[in-house]
């Protein structure tokens, strides 16, 4: 075990996978000179050479299209798109090519590509560098969608994503890069599609992912002080999501709150709410609730930006209200 940052954990995972499998390589902007925008590739170009850690021009369409071409011809590219907001420049290649080639060619090729595009609000980054786009990708058949929240998960899930034969949208959170945690360096890949239950609780199930995991975990302490307990579940993989763990928990607590930083309207929380509602409506003690961002671009100024950050207090207040009203 070693303590390291979320960025260092990702680097370790990629490094280990590149040693293990020479077909694995990385491409994107600024990977060599500064080791990636958050240092998540630091030292890898020196270790593996310029061909396997490839600095690319700012050409998102071709970064992605070339990765698809290289993936169907026997390599396993890890694509860095820098920000989810820039990933949108490669949307066509992700949706129309990466996600569809295996299907429309009936399995003649698979597209083993990892598409890293960091999400979330990052201090002062404003409207075009703060979006959480996970729901957009979950909607596309063919894609796996992963959103790690801790250094250990970033290590184990990135390994799993690299070994997956499916195209994986891999959404790190920008404000998690410097966060620290214990990582078992010798550990293999985590299982994609498996959530983690952080706390045991009786009154409400809180389902979340990415940075909001930490916010929800903190909210549990407030709830405990008020004499209530929540079962906090970090999905970790959004598609496929761990429906079994969520249903099992909600069956016990009778209440579900979904928390995500992304815009609430049309967010992935709506899908979870609908699925749980369809499956468990007789057992629910009250309506499923969602907390998410307002349907507005993220503003720049601090007091405005803060309105878009979900706090532990908001989560515990919502959960408390849910318990009291039913």
């Amino acid at each position: 075990m070693a303590e390291m940052t979320y960025a260092e954990a990702a680097k370790l995972a990629l490094q280990q996978e590149m040693v293990r499998d020479t077909r694995v390589w990385a491409l994107g902007e600024d990977l060599g000179s500064i080791g990636g925008i958050a240092g998540q590739y630091r030292g890898l170009q020196a270790q593996f050479g310029r061909e396997r850690v490839l600095d690319t021009p700012i050409s998102e369409s071709t970064i992605m299209g070339a990765a698809v071409g290289a993936a169907i011809c026997g390599t396993r590219p890890v694509v860095e798109l820098r920000y989810a907001d820039f990933g949108l420049c490669a949307t066509d290649e992700i949706v129309n090519q990466a996600a569809k080639i295996r299907y429309m060619f009936n399995g003649q090729a698979r597209v083993p590509v990892v598409i890293r595009q960091p999400i979330g609000i990052q201090k002062g980054c404003a409207a075009q560098h703060s979006q959480s786009t996970e729901a957009w990708w979950v909607h596309v058949p063919g894609l796996v969608v992963v959103a790690p929240a801790t250094p250990a998960d970033n290590h184990g899930l990135l390994k799993a994503a690299i070994r997956s034969d499916d195209p994986v949208i891999y959404l790190e959170h920008k404000e998690l890069w410097p966060t620290r945690g214990e990582v078992d360096e010798s550990r293999g890949p985590l299982r994609l599609g498996q959530a983690e239950r952080l706390t045991d609780g009786n009154d409400v199930t809180i389902v979340t992912w990415s940075k909001m995991r930490h916010v929800c975990f903190a909210s549990q302490k407030i709830l405990n002080e008020k004499g209530m307990s929540a079962e906090v579940i970090d999905l970790r993989t959004l598609w496929p999501w761990d429906r079994d763990m969520v249903l099992q928990s909600v069956r016990r607590t009778g209440r579900l709150l979904v928390v995500h930083e992304a815009v609430r309207v049309g967010g992935f929380g709506a899908e979870i709410a609908a699925e749980v509602g369809e499956a468990l409506w007789r057992e629910l003690k009250g309506p499923v609730r969602r907390l998410g961002g307002p349907r507005s671009p993220v503003p720049y100024a601090e007091p405005l930006e803060n309105l878009f950050r979900i706090t532990p207090e908001q989560v515990s207040n919502t959960a408390t209200k849910m318990v009291k009203e039913s």
């Binding site: 490839l54 071409g69 290289a70 993936a71 169907i72 011809c73 390599t75 295996r102 399995g107």
Partner: protein, 322 residues
């Protein structure tokens, strides 16, 4: 050029022409349900370029992709089944005409999105380089693609990394239904490619021998590791953008003149001049091959419903039955 080699290209062109005419008929009488973009009039380009390729080389194509698949050696029986959406088609009936692909012969797929095959091709070339393989990649695209950003990104990309890729712009003069010249600034695709430093040349795409010779020259350079090159081949699209487009927006007189440039007639005259006999040129039983392919496709079963839910993804695919 030995006449026998040209004769082989003539056979390929005949096969493409006949396949495409049959596909057009099958579309018009309702046997093919989806869009069919016929390659009639452009046969010399696929035939001339692909005659220089090895089975292990890759090609990436676009929505008008049947000709490239045939020239690279795809089986027309399986292709016709794909067009009719049948079991046993190249893509099991899940792709159709616009997604014809045959990886067993290095045909990485036709593509429904203009210019996307080009970025895929440069990526394939990157894999070839990373894996130290002895292959090259050909990216076919139409003149309509010249105004898409990813195409220009891919030019830059292929050049900076010195990738083994031949770009082939098939200039049939129309971007769907509009004259490309009316919507394209500057001096054209050759000038654009040269501005990236890519060796680029134009050729009469109705002349299979000229296409072959230019491709041979450029491919030799690419195989030597000298980086990408581009061919701009001019031709004429005989039919509309797709089979349900009559092409009525074209000037009838210019249309008649353009048809006179028939690449098959041109090749035939050349071969006759070289002393070949009509029987040699017509001895391939092409019509029979295509009729057989169509007949077998019509007799083939439709894909089983469960096939709709296979090959989506390993993890989290929709299940059948629901």
């Amino acid at each position: 050029m030995p006449p026998q080699r040209t004769l082989q290209m003539y056979r390929t062109m005949q096969l493409i022409r006949s396949f495409e005419e049959a596909a057009g008929t099958a579309f018009h009488d309702g046997r093919i349900r989806g869009p069919v973009h016929q390659y009639v009039g452009q046969e010399a380009i696929a035939a001339g370029v692909c005659a220089n390729l090895k089975p292990t080389d890759y090609i990436a194509s676009y929505h008008r992709g049947h000709g490239h698949a045939i020239a690279k050696g795809a089986d027309i029986g399986r292709m016709m089944k794909e067009l009719l959406g049948r079991e046993g088609g190249t893509c099991g009936g899940k792709g159709g005409s616009m997604h014809i692909a045959d990886f067993s012969v290095g045909m990485l797929g036709a593509n429904g999105v203009v210019a996307d095959g080009v970025t895929i091709a440069v990526g394939a070339a990157q894999a070839v380089k990373l894996l130290r393989q002895d292959r090259i990649v050909v990216a076919f695209f139409g003149d309509g693609a010249v105004n898409r950003g990813p195409l220009l990104e891919a030019f830059n990309w292929a050049m900076i990394y010195g990738l083994p890729v031949l770009f082939v712009c098939e200039d049939n003069q129309y971007a769907a239904t509009v004259r490309t010249a009316d919507l394209t600034a500057g001096e054209g695709i050759v000038a654009r490619a040269r501005s990236f430093g890519i060796p680029s040349e134009s050729v009469d795409g109705n002349d299979v021998v000229a296409v072959h010779d230019l491709a041979e020259k450029l491919i030799a350079k690419i195989r030597r590791g000298e980086g990408p090159a581009l061919i701009h081949a001019t031709a004429y699209r005989w039919y509309g953008h797709f089979a349900h487009d009559s092409g009525a927006y074209r000037d009838p007189e210019a249309h008649r003149r353009a048809l006179a440039g028939d690449p098959l007639e041109r090749c035939r005259s050349w071969l006759l001049e070289q002393g070949m006999k009509d029987e040699e040129l017509d001895g391939f039983a092409i019509q029979e091959l295509v009729e057989k392919a169509l007949k077998e496709a019509e007799a083939a079963p439709m894909p089983a419903p469960r096939e709709a839910f296979t090959e989506i993804q390993d993890l989290g695919a929709e299940a059948w039955p629901r």
